[in-house]
Amino acid sequence: MASDGNDPDEALLAGVGRGDPSAVRTLLDRRLPRILALSRRMLNDPGEAEDVAQETFLRAWKQARAWKPGGARFDTWLHRVALNLCYDRLRRRREIATDAPPEQVDTGPAPDAGLLGAELSRRVEAALAALPSRQREAIVLCHHQGLGNIEAAGLMEISVEALESLLARGRRTLKASLADLRGAG
């Protein structure tokens, strides 16, 4: 996926490569929260999300001096590295789960219908975590990360039609599992 020559991070990345501390700080302020949020929503685990975000940026630092302008946009590259790291961890979880099945995530309504903000947030997070990982990835990339359909499909290495199918199925499942929250949100 080539950039259109307007990568907003290119100059900052060159600064990082030159060892400019203000470029490092600005790039982290701009991109670290996005990558952390992506990892958190993919993995549903704050500690693992932090590890993935850290590893992603350590790889970016290694890449900074050799970055080729005109290639992938830096934000897209960060997303791809982070997603690959998330998938490594999800795969490891799956291998462990074959030995010891994990606790089932309860996505059903709580006994008390009057849900508070934190509880509502937990319900949505659990419902998102219960989706098949590719559906979750599609929703996180398009809804939460705000990527366009072509960029998200490119990152997932699928067609736009396949992305739309994952999005629609994921949203339908979420709608059903959160149906009792009609008055909330």
Partner: protein, 155 residues
């Protein structure tokens, strides 16, 4: 100019796929969607409202605030600015037609009585959030990560 036409079914499918904000739908379909909405505001606003409700719920899925310790570790691990000695070596080496590393090796060899020192990539130990310590090479010019990102295996 007339807007391209869109069926109600396509409008509903797009709302179900991309949510209740037409601005987030594929760019090429927004104009037709807005035209259809203007023609049938009551029915199609209800379609958008239903999709927007799920959007608002999705917005409640927690993100994560950046921990100061993580920020500190990443700032500490960022590439350092070349120091004055490094720039002097690189400049003098370039004048002599040698790479900085080769010229540094020559200087080091002279310093230890004719035995060249190996030039190793600098490494840094980094504390992970879960307490593990991982060693990373701080500078690795030989790897082109843009081309060599590992692909995830099929889940």
């Amino acid at each position: 100019m007339m807007s391209p036409e869109m069926s109600e079914g396509r409008f509903e499918a797009l709302a179900e796929t991309y949510g209740g904000e037409i601005a987030r739908w594929p760019e090429g379909e927004r104009e037709a969607a807005r035209a259809l909405l203007a023609a049938q505001p009551e029915r199609l606003s209800a379609v958008l409202d239903a999709a927007a409700h799920l959007d608002r719920l999705l917005d409640l899925a927690p993100a994560q605030s950046v921990d100061a310790a993580l920020l500190g570790r990443l700032i500490a691990a960022a590439p350092p600015a070349p120091n004055t000695a490094g720039r002097w070596i690189a400049g003098l080496g370039a004048a002599l037609g040698l790479s900085a590393a080769a010229f540094a090796g020559v200087l080091a060899g002279v310093a230890v009585g004719g035995h060249a020192l190996p030039v190793a990539a600098p490494a840094a130990a980094t504390q992970m959030a879960n307490g593990r310590v991982e060693t990373v090479t701080a500078v690795d010019m030989s790897n082109d990560l843009q081309d060599a990102i590992e692909e995830p295996a099929e889940l």
